[in-house]
Amino acid sequence: MHFKARAKAALADAGLQRGLSKVDGFAARRAVAMRELEDPEGLRTAAAAIRDRALEDMDVWIETFEREATRRGATVLYAETGEEVASLVVEICRRHGLKKAIKSKSMLSEEARLNAMLAAAGVQPVETDLGEYICQLADEPPSHIIAPVIHKTKADIGELFERKHGRPRLTEAAEMTREAREMLRAHFLSADLGISGGNFLIAETGSVALVTNEGNGRMVTTLPRVHVAITGIEKVVPTLEDFSTLMRLLPRSATGQSISNYVTMATGPRGALDQDGPEHMYFILVDNGRTNLVGGDMQEMLRCIRCGACMNHCPVYQSVGGHAYGWVYPGPMGAVLTPAFVGVENALDLPQASTFCGACASVCPVRIPLPDLLRKLRERQVERGLRPWYETFGLRVWGWTARHPRLYALATALGVRALRMLRNGDGMIGSIPFASGWTKSRFMPAPASGRTFRALYAARARR
């Protein structure tokens, strides 16, 4: 099923639509949080420059990161694909005899389909971010990168908990949260592996930074014997200074918070003087299509810090939700990342899933020109002959006519007359050949005058 078909189903899903109506709350809170900053636009420019600098010499910063992380006792591994991520984690589990993994939020583990792979290898994965926990219980992928269950109503979740937890039905969010906490507590205490994502890798200290609100990230990175942090290679930034600049924007852009409840810096395994922390720490730095973007016309996408502001401000996302986008990342971010990572031929609809309204680009904290990137993907589709012939052909014919003004004047004069013959008494056209997509849900206003502007202007000039 393609985006269009999934979108149609999503538009008809009343529960999903109720959930999505809350998305603009994120946008409102972001606007308030950004106003706290002295120079928000200047900060966005600075953040983009930091990300560009990191990407420009990504190999150097990754090497620095590896050296510093290794010096502090961590092991840095590399995975080229999602499958390699899963096999590295399984290998770590075998080496240390690990049986249960608690996980904090990681979109990369979704890219790698890690939970299924772990389960198949006899390791029980337990999502501990509340939203991700609900997704896992429901066996559904997240539909928003920071609000994974925005597609579910409170009643859906009450019903799900009753069924999965075997306890009485709850109706209040606070009660449900408390019940999930109780359920998760036992897992936190019994797990021997903690798997986290990483919001940033800091090259100069070899640390992974985690930005969370629930505190589960802290438990995942400190309680179990082994911690594995899985991040994309592009998440590296050179310095703590860079990180602190980006942190002024990330929580504000994501949830409208000045700062998230928790900001964790995990650096190496437990040291001799530490009271807690893992005995072993691993980093898995993942490519999974990212290096293909380096040096190309999509490189700006690698700046992305996964805040989700683009989807929170996207009227298309707000209409159809995240699952319609079909892969890990939804919204404008996903409409670029999915074709860029899995191939433009495997996501034909996504570059078209935008009106180019530009709301996403106007809020992106690292100034990714998302509509421009989507347009480049459309260009790629045209170059590779992936658009329907009638569309390509129609544009060429129209373009050729527009370059021949006399012919164009004649064609438009005839077009105006033809369209006016189709109009009703109110000047509206109810159906136009080859444009049923337009007329299904709206009329086409007929040309208001029987003559084109050019004809009226010529007549005026003659007077």
Binding site: K4, A7, K8, L11, P315, V316, S319, V320, Q352, A353, S354, T355, C357, G358, A359, A361, D372, R375, L377, R378, E379, Q381, V382, E383, R387, E391, L395, W398, G399, T401, A402, R403, P405, Y408, T412, G415, V416, G427, M428, A435, G437, W438, K440, S441, R442, F443, M444, P445, P447, A448, S449, G450, R451, T452, F453, R454, L456, Y457, A458, R460
Partner: protein, 246 residues
């Protein structure tokens, strides 16, 4: 001051009164207005559909037609945005043309931006009795910075009161071919827009781009609203009713 009026292909065909209104407003402001007879389209439909070759050939045509003017003005934020914000992207590999394109872009204005900020008009011929609401078209707003200008000009119209709608900056769902390719999502977006227009209690929605205009008017009428007028800002300022132009 020689001002080239870029009428735009949709105004030419669908609502010529807007072109006439723009012409009168510019002449009223003391501009010498030239309307190159060979003009057709800026090439945006091709550009946004991924056909750079067609887009570039039309951009070169616009360049030749308008580069002799002191200013280029279009009654559309979208077409003006194409010339100023996007043409440069089409000429990255030809420095000579790129410099000319950059100069063209720098003197290209959306109509209300030009009237408010360049010629700074203080009076308009239009009159309007009642409340209107303003829809911010995406390209005008985000590519050309058109937000305060139309509102400032509408404030000059005797009898007119502006009532802001909810989410006036949210896209109406037109998006060129998007409206046909992604018809269900587009329908939902324009429905939301129409509901917000209705809730504003305005007699008319005023806007600055033809795409939004056709989309919003088509949806309003389809849902049975024959009362709310859909007017281009140039028509209101010039005192022209778009449905009685000849």
């Amino acid at each position: 001051m020689r001002v080239g009026l870029f009428v735009t292909c949709l105004v030419d065909m669908m609502r010529p009164s807007i072109g006439m209104a723009a012409l009168e407003l510019l002449e009223g402001a003391g501009c010498e207005v030239v309307v190159p007879a060979t003009q057709t389209c800026c090439g945006q439909p091709a550009y946004n559909s991924g056909d750079r070759v067609t887009a570039r050939s039309l951009a070169e045509k616009v360049l030749e037609e308008f580069e002799g003017c002191d200013y280029v003005v279009a009654p559309s934020g979208s077409c003006a945005g194409m010339i100023r914000a996007h043409y440069p992207d089409l000429f990255g590999d030809s420095p000579g043309l790129a410099a000319r394109i950059a100069r063209l872009g720098a003197k290209t204005y959306e109509l209300t931006d030009f009237l408010a900020n360049v010629v700074k008009i203080e009076r308009v011929p239009g009159k309007f009795e009642g409340k209107v609401t303003y829809h911010d078209s995406c390209s005008g707003l985000r590519e050309m910075g058109v937000k305060a200008q139309p509102r400032a000009l509408l404030a000059l119209v005797p009898g007119l009161a502006l009532e802001e709608m909810r989410d006036s900056e949210t896209c109406c769902g037109f998006g060129g071919t998007f409206a046909v390719k992604m018809e269900d999502i587009s329908a939902r977006m324009v429905e939301d827009k129409c509901r917000n227009i209705g809730a504003s209690g305005a007699r008319a929605v005023v806007l600055g781009d033809l795409g939004c205009m056709l989309n919003i008017e088509g949806r309003l009428r389809k849902r049975g609203d024959t009362r709310t007028q859909v007017l281009h800002v140039a028509e209101v300022l010039a005192g022209k009713d778009g449905r009685r132009s000849d």
